[in-house]
Symmetry: D2
Subunit: 247 residues, 4 copies
């Protein structure tokens, strides 16, 4: 090989995540085999990987409750897209999962990040709940297309955060906004998740990422069910057989 790839004095790529040599594997400065495997839960590790600090048990409980809340919402557009992709390319499960995650954009999975970010900016700017509620602007996390009266996830997640002593300024501001908002809209559970994650000190730029991680588990469930009891071909046929040509 023409290229000299060994340790090159001019190049340096720092990382605090995984490194390894012939005898050992490190992750986050820990010995992966001796210190992490069997001792750290998967959700705990995900938190640690992003926040670059090990969470407390209470933080893990809130964090995993959020991931559980966001994992699967049934036949969402992203779940259907993943199943159709698995139908077309069953040899490439990574493609089906990727296709499902790609729907995790502004419209369907975005409210978690949007709500957390909105609250973080409002707190930074010193805005109050009544100021925000009275502004007339759309507030991410307020209202839900299906759960028009009450999103069942909302009180449960708030209770868990309170039990763990992790009910902080983001959740407080969000509840405060809902309490004084003229439209009496319910708090969207996915938005509350964003507030809870922000109260855990997780970076708001990564909140959508946690929704995607949660959804990765849900998509795997969708793909496994598609494997056991397929519906994607029926979806395809339903669309194709009812296609109508219109210029």
């Amino acid at each position: 090989m023409a290229t000299e790839l060994n340790s090159n004095p001019g190049l340096r790529f720092p990382t605090g995540l995984g490194t390894s040599d012939a005898d050992s594997i490190s992750l986050l400065g820990q010995d992966l085999a001796a210190d992490l495997m069997g001792k750290v839960g998967f959700g705990e590790l995900a938190f640690w990987l992003v926040a670059n600090r090990r969470p407390t048990p209470g933080e893990v409980r809130v964090f995993e409750a959020v991931l559980v809340a966001l994992a699967d919402h049934g036949f969402t557009p992203t779940a259907i897209a993943a199943r159709l992709t698995y139908l077309s390319a069953p040899d490439s499960i990574q493609g089906a999962m990727a296709a499902g995650l790609l729907g995790g954009g502004s419209r369907f999975l975005g409210v978690t990040e949007d709500c957390g970010r909105f609250l973080a900016e409002a707190l930074r700017d010193g805005r109050t709940a009544s100021d925000i509620a009275g502004s007339g602007a759309r507030i991410p996390g307020l209202g839900h297309p299906v759960h028009k009266v009450r999103d069942p996830r909302t009180p449960v997640l708030i209770t868990i955060a309170q039990e763990e002593g992790l009910y902080g300024p983001h959740l407080r501001l969000l509840e405060g906004i809902a309490a004084v908002h003229p439209k009496k809209l319910p708090l969207n559970g996915a938005g509350v998740c964003g507030a809870a994650l922000a109260d855990l000190g997780l970076p708001v730029e990564m909140l959508r990422g946690f929704a995607l991680l949660a959804r990765a588990a849900g998509l795997l469930g969708q793909i496994a069910e598609e494997h056991r009891r397929p519906i994607a071909n029926d979806v395809y046929m339903t669309v194709d057989r009812n296609a109508v040509y219109e210029p």
Copy 2:
């Protein structure tokens, strides 16, 4: 920046594709602006990029006929997946296109590559049409789930290849197999495309890639139509409203 990124004596990444400096842009050893833009068609360039040689006008005609034949097949699973992804994440058109391409696997877009590869291997091994037809094995490119009598693309593509003097051993072998096959199956147009591309001397490992390139144009059309006259939300609602819980 700690890292010295300028030209590094130990590193060397060769390419025959695009390079540029402050004043010029080269592509395939040509001056992009002076020699290619306005002088080379897009299909011609795509052929050149993959085959590393400029195609003749006849080769371009066959090649573009293949791309046209494969661009869009209506509401395929991949088209529906792209539309659902665009519905979920309309701000990220690259995600919708990627989701659509990810269905380009073994089942729906694979026959082009499978047929070309099958014929190339058969020719390499000196097999004859009657040997293959009599083997009882499934032959990629023979038969079509919808066009059970005749795929309308097949005679047209064969005629174009003949007109351009590019009807070669792969197309000949494929037609030969169909002629003697006991089941009287029609030649699948997408499979014929693979044979035609192989007769152009294109590498069989890249044949699926040409189907994907063709499909990229079709997906763009699907996304543009979804933008103008959406159906993805109706697809989603049709599935979601008819979901039935079964353990």
Copy 3:
């Protein structure tokens, strides 16, 4: 199958793109085999699919010049990502292409859409070149990180548009802005492409899509070259061997 998938009186999915039955395949209201294959170029078809009208020969020439200009820029982050993905999953060429397209976001491929959209909005609002140039705001399409004096694609594309009588208000406004801008920045070729596409009447929401289509051809070239003469493992090794643990 429990589900009745045949034509269902309550369902209707309109499309003006591809439809087919046992004997024929239609695309854009044309007979695919009789009217399109061998008669319509691939770039021409891509334009037609998105714009829902057949372009004139002059429009095809400008359009294909844009696609050629945007197809490949060498070892961009997206090209490297595609090659690394092909290294990891060589059996799934669709994954490598998708990974490459996913970098087609705001930073590297976005200027085409951003420039076209900016000009379209400025024209709609009746803004003049001097008003815009004097506003102090960043103008998409003005300036280039490498081509600091002149982007060689710019004059060529403008000349082609003029030759074809397709130099319209978007290109005129963009040139006008550059002429009076105090910083004397060159016009970015990718931005000029966006202006030229907008002058063709193509929807500004789809401009990034054309950049992605062009790039799909370039990525295919990158993957084919990676297959012939790989560099991705060298890239990986260069990074891995020079990784340094820092908490």
Copy 4:
């Protein structure tokens, strides 16, 4: 809307995963808010979603140890591809994660599935360790490109499986093969993960999916670190500045 999307007598899409109505959200037949959030861990839920049964605490411990083992291996090709994609399209974190997952194919993440599947087929066919070891065929899970003597994950995962009473026929066969294999190769930790997952009764077709889920957490960590302390632009520049044109 012309289309009647409400519950349609002819259509039926069964699912055992998520369903919801105005007042409640169910997942896996449980009340998501009352029965799962705060009570079920994220790894536990992922297992349940795929296996369609709730795992025991011992199964959760083995399963999460596997996910932790596979989450991140530093600057792998997939991690670099995800970072380059984030560099190009920072507004679309789902694209960066998807690009990273797309490298989860046959070469880098495939050994988990390949090993589990190989062992499952060998057990089904009643093959013995010495029969397999003596066959001369390549055995997925045996040998590692970096850990040439011992993969530190291997003994730890086997011990955890034994502690939880979940050391079953797949792990036993794999250890048996290694013990009698003439080449004295170490057991690859990622392969052992596949054997351990197969011993949990998880479907072998989904094993790659678990590796992808684990990697989703690792990719999120890579993207978060790229956000805090970027290296992707240095990678890009290292390649671009050392590009050499060769036809």
